[in-house]
């Protein structure tokens, strides 16, 4: 038995740009697999190849055991796909959009209402409103409803939370978790590293290459260097100074703090404090932290 998504050595290039380099990974049944990487990493190309919209240059891939090129018609019947940008009809109302997509897949809203109830009930009060006039979060909920209405076996969500407010994002991930109960396999991509913890498995992707595949917990556990978060009022200046500091292994801005790794293993916190204090930054706060997925990503990129 093949896993629901089974990819071997997929490569794709556009003219002189290489979008995907020898990608291989598997996604198990009822699992949420997150493809995580910045814009232009090749996430959308991967989605289009798996949804049979794009032909790979080399490599093989199977969705629910069907070959993505030979059995493309079969695949199109059993998948749900939500492209990266809002791809519904803006001049149709919420309800019209949903019922159109239900008809396209030969079903009705009533038949699979159970599956979309949790999401659709939130936008149902606006069902007569044109899709173009919905807020970002509501648009994504409608798009997910449309991708789910035919009870797909595999769901492909390309950056579903981009441009969505934090509250709706959390809600959205909650919904995805609940879908696992229906046995739906989900491949989702996101540029937000903090969403990695919501996935069962993650693949970090950069410049068309998979850097690492693991569970988010294991990935951060395996990170073997000490990371210090530094908070200061003079973040920008501090960052620049640290970049030219001789013992810096890596330093980058992370939200409102700075993440710093020293080249020396097991360097003492007190030692860092005394060194940095001499660098004309009297006010700062330094603290050893647990690594996040973003730290892993930055480290992998550095190794590349």
């Amino acid at each position: 038995m093949r896993p629901p998504i089974d990819i071997y050595g997929i490569s794709k290039h556009y003219e002189d740009i290489i979008a995907l380099k020898d990608i291989s990974f598997q996604v198990n049944k009822a699992e949420i697999f997150g493809l995580i990487g910045p814009d232009g990493a090749g996430k959308t190309s991967m989605f289009r190849i798996l949804t049979t919209l794009l032909l790979p240059d080399t490599g093989e891939a199977y969705v629910q055991g069907y070959h993505i090129v030979k059995d493309y018609k079969k695949i199109r019947e059993i998948i749900g796909y939500m492209p990266g940008r809002f791809s519904l009809y803006q001049d149709l109302s919420v309800e019209e959009n949903l019922s159109l997509f239900a008809s396209i897949f030969g079903t009705t809203i009533e038949e699979n209402y159970e599956l979309v109830k949790e999401i659709y009930s939130q936008i149902e009060p606006f069902k007569d409103r044109r899709a173009g006039q919905l807020s970002g979060g509501m648009k994504q909920k409608l798009a997910l409803s449309c991708a789910l209405i035919h009870k797909p076996e595999v769901l492909f969500l390309d950056e579903p939370t981009t441009g969505v407010d934090p509250v709706s994002r959390t809600e959205f991930w909650g919904i995805l978790k609940n879908l696992k109960a229906y046995g739906i396999t989900i491949l989702v991509s996101t540029p937000y590293m903090d969403e990695a913890n919501m996935c069962d498995n993650i693949g970090l992707i950069q410049n068309g290459e998979i850097l690492s595949i693991d569970t988010p917990g294991k990935m951060t556990q395996d990170f073997d260097r000490d990371i210090y978060a530094i908070k200061t009022k003079h973040k920008h200046k501090f960052l620049n100074t640290l970049k030219s500091y001789e013992n810096t292994y890596s330093v980058f801005s992370f939200g409102d703090s700075i993440h710093y790794i020293d080249v020396r293993n097991n360097v003492k916190e007190s030692e860092l404090i005394s060194t940095f204090s001499k660098m004309e930054f009297p006010e700062f706060n330094i603290e050893k932290i647990k690594p996040t997925v973003e730290d892993c990503f930055m480290d992998l990129m550095k190794q590349e």
């Binding site: 049979t52 493309y72 492209p83 009809y89 803006q90 159109l100 008809s103 897949f105």
Partner: protein, 368 residues
């Protein structure tokens, strides 16, 4: 089938909910036919003329009255000398000067011959030609009225009749041409734009990743436009008939059948355009520059094909609209049956098959 109906319904919503689309679809045909019917016409009435009469006798006066009462001319001024002709023309108001020679009436009585000079402003050659024709026929009539009784000597007097359009009304020519242009706009332009819109907005991506077959997507897309094209053509025919008296002498069913055939051709052209164009703007440009413009210029709608250079005449053969205009004119104005237009019909059928095959082959089952 339910899938198909839902899709057609969605397409109807797209059309009816967009104000601009509705305006183009219904406002434009009506505006065009009224414009072409009333304003743009090659019939000339009340052209300003000047008269230089060197003799001022009763015969020259009689002929002058005949000119002015014809309805074609309006007197702007009497000139006093030949020098004034140039200055009057330069003012741009008059189109024609009629010059009577000296002793006009006397010479006519004595020598059976007299001099009349007609000078036209030929900056617009068509108008000048038409005006000269008018004056000549008035003079011919006048001479005939001076010679009552049997004509002396050998004489051939041609009696001219304009069949199928006795009064040479421009609108008779424009209605078939307009139907053609409007069908092209509604079908080719609108379908190519509406298909590329799905590509541009990303909805095509979702449709392709669904069990919907490409042929279903296309057919469902064009069905509302077929009905629209039919409906609009009928509006134009009715306007032509009731407002301008353009007859439909032939079989109406035959005409509608030919309409359908032509719509199929232009629809497949629209689909073909959408397979090339990536954005709506590009689709619009290709439709207008690559389709509409050659159609207007080379189909014989405005410029007679027979007067074109040989190479353009050859090119005009690959314009489906040329053949369609011939068919529509024959059926509407001459009352021809299929026996008279079967050749043109076959040509259009051939175009339709070719374009349908090409667009189905080029329509991408994937993206990019």
């Amino acid at each position: 089938m339910k899938r198909f109906i839902a899709f057609v319904k969605k397409e109807v919503f797209h059309i009816t909910r967009d104000f601009r689309t509705m305006l183009i679809l219904f406002g434009m045909p009506v505006a065009q036919i009224l414009l072409f019917g009333f304003a743009i016409t090659n019939e000339i009435r009340d052209a300003n003329i000047a008269i230089l009469d060197h003799s001022k006798d009763h015969i020259s006066e009689k002929l002058t009255n005949k000119f002015l009462s014809s309805g074609y001319f309006k007197l702007d001024s009497y000139l006093q000398s030949a020098e004034e002709i140039e200055t009057e023309f330069k003012k741009g108001k008059i189109k024609l000067v009629i010059v009577f020679g000296k002793q006009f009436g006397e010479n006519l009585n004595r020598f059976q011959s007299s001099e009349l000079q007609i000078i036209a402003d030929a900056t617009d050659p068509n108008t000048a030609n038409t005006l000269i024709n008018y004056t000549q026929s008035i003079v011919r009539d006048f001479v005939a009225s001076l010679n009552p009784g049997p004509p002396t000597g050998i004489m051939i007097i041609p009696e001219v009749r304009f069949r199928y359009n006795q009064n040479l009304k421009g609108v008779f020519l424009f209605v078939p041409g307009l139907i053609t242009i409007i069908l092209m706009l509604v079908t080719a332009m609108m379908t190519s734009i509406s298909l590329t819109r799905e590509k541009e907005l990303g909805t095509m991506e979702v449709l392709l990743a669904s069990p919907m077959k490409p042929i279903q997507i296309i057919v469902a897309k064009v069905i509302p436009y077929i009905f629209l094209a039919f409906f609009i053509s009928i509006i134009v025919l009715l306007l032509g008939y009731f407002v301008f008296g353009v007859p439909i002498k032939g079989n109406l069913l035959l005409l509608l059948f030919e309409l359908l055939l032509f719509v199929l051709t232009t629809l497949s052209l629209g689909i073909l355009i959408s397979t090339i164009a990536k954005t709506q703007l590009v689709a619009l440009m290709i439709s207008v520059m690559g389709l509409l413009l050659p159609t207007i210029i080379l189909s014989g709608f405005i410029f007679p094909i027979e007067n074109m250079p040989k190479i353009l005449q050859w090119i005009s053969n690959i314009i489906p609209a040329k053949w369609f205009i011939i068919i529509v004119k024959n059926i509407m104005l001459k009352g021809s049956g299929i026996d008279m237009v079967w050749k043109e019909t076959l040509i259009i059928l051939g175009f339709a098959m070719l374009f349908i095959m090409m667009s189905l082959k080029k329509f991408n089952i994937r993206i990019g």
